[in-house]
Symmetry: C2
Subunit: 414 residues, 2 copies
């Protein structure tokens, strides 16, 4: 199955849809929130206790849900409880005061996803379970002689290892988190700048040929924000902007709990937002684009540093040494983030990709400045935080793409 | 019912939900697309012919759907057909070659919405049917002595007239399309600049007290884009940006077929997008905001004209006379639209509010320039067009808010 996540969910609403949808919601609640009772589940999903009981029973039988036993209100009384409480019971009926409903947990090892992260430097792999735990990772640095011909071969080799090592591990899908630009409608990697001459690569189809489960492709910014919104710093939010600073600058946006892609999958493009219509020419044909002021190569050049960590260390230890570049970087970044906050109206902004290393220079001033200037400043403060998964965010994001599809019922778990 | 359209659709998925959802999809198809057969309906919605037949029968009985009779493939043979074809028949079984399935239409007068448009100058009202036809309008110019005390009274009076004149007309809801800023979570009009000292007005609650049907509030830009996306120039698109130029500048954005509001309802704020981080100070606290270069008062001041139509006429007849302001306006507007096109990745951009009068100055150059500079230029051309409902767009939009809720099953039609 080639999974097109540019499409909206199907419209067919029949009994099968209901069943898949309700099971998916239960998996989501248990995976994200942890142990939860049937009563709480019924209340959260707006279903009857009867309906929840019936679906949960089925899922316990299938081994997808574990029941932790009927808990008493103290450890003492728990010991006195029967060992096999009825799976159907919301609350054991006659065991006296203090009886608590039994708690349900997801049987995490029964629902796994693989992720592939195609970055400038490497092909990385990950296996995550449905609670967002990283089970294992793989790393294949790109070979020096990488070219359009052997790039797919290198992906192929890593995939073989991943598939072999996870055989029988209940993998429900594989996500690909890739540098862009992508053509989402055909699952192709178009022409990344300075990337081994690679052009118009049928990524999704290639991976699909090797896998019996669904393949989901998205760019690394979108994948990253999905990881953070399901399992990371933005876990409780439905409107999230993830700012990724690297060779270029990108953004991943979640709005209403869903990755914002736009009509052709380039939505959230932030690097070529002009913050200075009278500014210098950019290679993209615009003037004054954000990337001209903030991307890592620009900052290294301006600071005369060899790498980002050295640059930040020096600026932290000797702030005056950064006067030539830091104020202008802050001004451009603040302007762009105010613009994007006014447009997307997020609950939180995350710093990711290599901007996690810039954080000591950026925070808390960036958060203060942005919140001073946004239109909604009287009704909302937008925190700016670092991505919880750090450098691994776009990698974990690849697996998160799969889990979000599971939670929406778009990849049914049977 | 206070209808919060900041919220995502409820999650409860039961049989009642299925029924409402499928009926709503049928109403959408018939209202937007016009006459359609049961077979086509079944195919579009992914439901079985049996399911469609059963739901359609019920809706015909309720008077919501009309059946146009079993058509033959030519006018001649049509005359020979029986007058009362079975309502259940997908295709009459034995009437020979050329028999066509009977066509269904929505009984438009059975589903109406009211709309209120609160602008700087007036309180306007509209009754629309579910196909987007304007049935009647009302106009109440704001009284000169309007203040915070009597503004609601004026709304009250117009509403009384509207409710009286539409009694028994199958009104399913009322939409309010209001100048901002709004607090969507409480249904309040906050503090519009220079607007009769009005502050923190409980709009939704006030209107709800007078109405037995749902009330939906949104800002005039969002309402406008909804009208255009359901019934106007953007009818076939799911990703739309509506640019409204007036005293200030706003944008209404539809993405994935849904109004984009962000987390606090200010999403799509375009007027205070900075296109020049080194530019002049704006009252909002930023520098170089779009409004400093393009809003109507700014253009009138720069051109020395008294009104927008005079200004445009003069610039069209004597282009040299506009040299002092037109190039800078075009530069700022192009920069902002490229930024927003890179971010929202729409299929179409609409010019609305008073920018419809600017169109002779803007088009086609604006469309050409924007498309030269967007990131997705190799895979997409974004047309820039004028809103079909012209000045009435935000008014019709008020009713469109209601119909979008009907089409999503959020306002059930029984």
């Amino acid at each position: 199955m080639i999974y097109k996540n540019t499409e909206s969910p199907r419209r067919v609403k029949n009994l099968k849809y209901l069943r898949i949808s309700n099971r998916a919601e239960i998996i989501r609640c248990l995976s994200i929130q942890g142990p939860i009772s049937r009563i709480e589940l019924a209340s959260q999903l707006g279903l009857t206790k009867m309906a929840i009981s019936s679906i949960v029973s089925e899922m316990i039988e299938e081994g997808l849900i574990l029941e932790q036993g009927t808990h008493a209100s103290s450890d003492k009384s728990r010991a006195a409880l029967p060992e096999n409480p009825s799976e159907e019971s919301f609350c054991a009926p006659s065991a006296g005061a203090g009886r608590r409903p039994s708690m349900l947990t997801i049987h995490a090892e029964q629902i796994n996803a693989l992720g592939l992260y195609l970055s400038r430097d490497a092909i990385e792999g990950v296996q995550c379970d449905v609670t967002g735990q990283i089970i294992r990772t793989w790393n294949h640095p790109l070979e020096e002689f990488t070219n359009a011909d052997n790039y797919l071969e290198q992906i192929d080799e890593l995939l073989d290892v991943m598939l072999f090592e996870t055989a029988g591990r209940h993998v429900v899908g594989i996500g690909i988190s890739s540098i862009g630009p992508l053509d989402m409608s055909t699952g192709r990697l178009l022409s990344p700048a300075n990337f081994h001459g690679i052009h118009n690569l049928s990524l999704t189809k290639f991976v699909q040929r090797k896998c019996s489960f669904p393949v989901i492709l998205d760019n690394d910014m979108n994948a990253a924000v999905q990881a953070e919104q399901l399992y990371g710093t933005a876990k409780k939010y439905r409107h999230v902007v993830y700012l990724g600073i690297a060779n270029g600058i990108g953004a991943g946006v979640i709005s209403y709990g869903r990755i914002f892609q736009g009509s052709s999958g380039v939505g959230g493009e932030l690097g070529h937002m002009s913050v200075n219509m009278d500014g210098p020419d950019c290679l993209c044909g615009n003037r004054g684009c954000l990337e001209l002021y903030v991307s890592i190569p620009v900052l290294l050049q301006q600071s005369g540093s060899l790498n980002i960590k050295e640059m930040v260390n020096q600026a932290v230890n000797d702030p005056a040494s950064a006067n030539a570049w830091q104020p202008r970087m802050m001004q451009a970044l603040t302007t762009a983030l105010v613009n994007i906050a006014n447009i997307f109206d997020p609950e939180i902004i995350l710093l990711g990709h290599q901007s996690i290393y810039l954080a000591p220079l950026l925070l808390p001033e960036l958060e203060n400045e942005v919140n001073k200037h946004i239109i909604q400043r009287e009704i909302r403060h937008i925190p700016i935080r670092i991505a919880a998964f750090g450098e691994q965010t776009p990698l974990v994001g690849a697996a998160a793409l799969v889990f979000q599809a599971v939670f929406r019922g778009e990849i049914p778990v049977c």
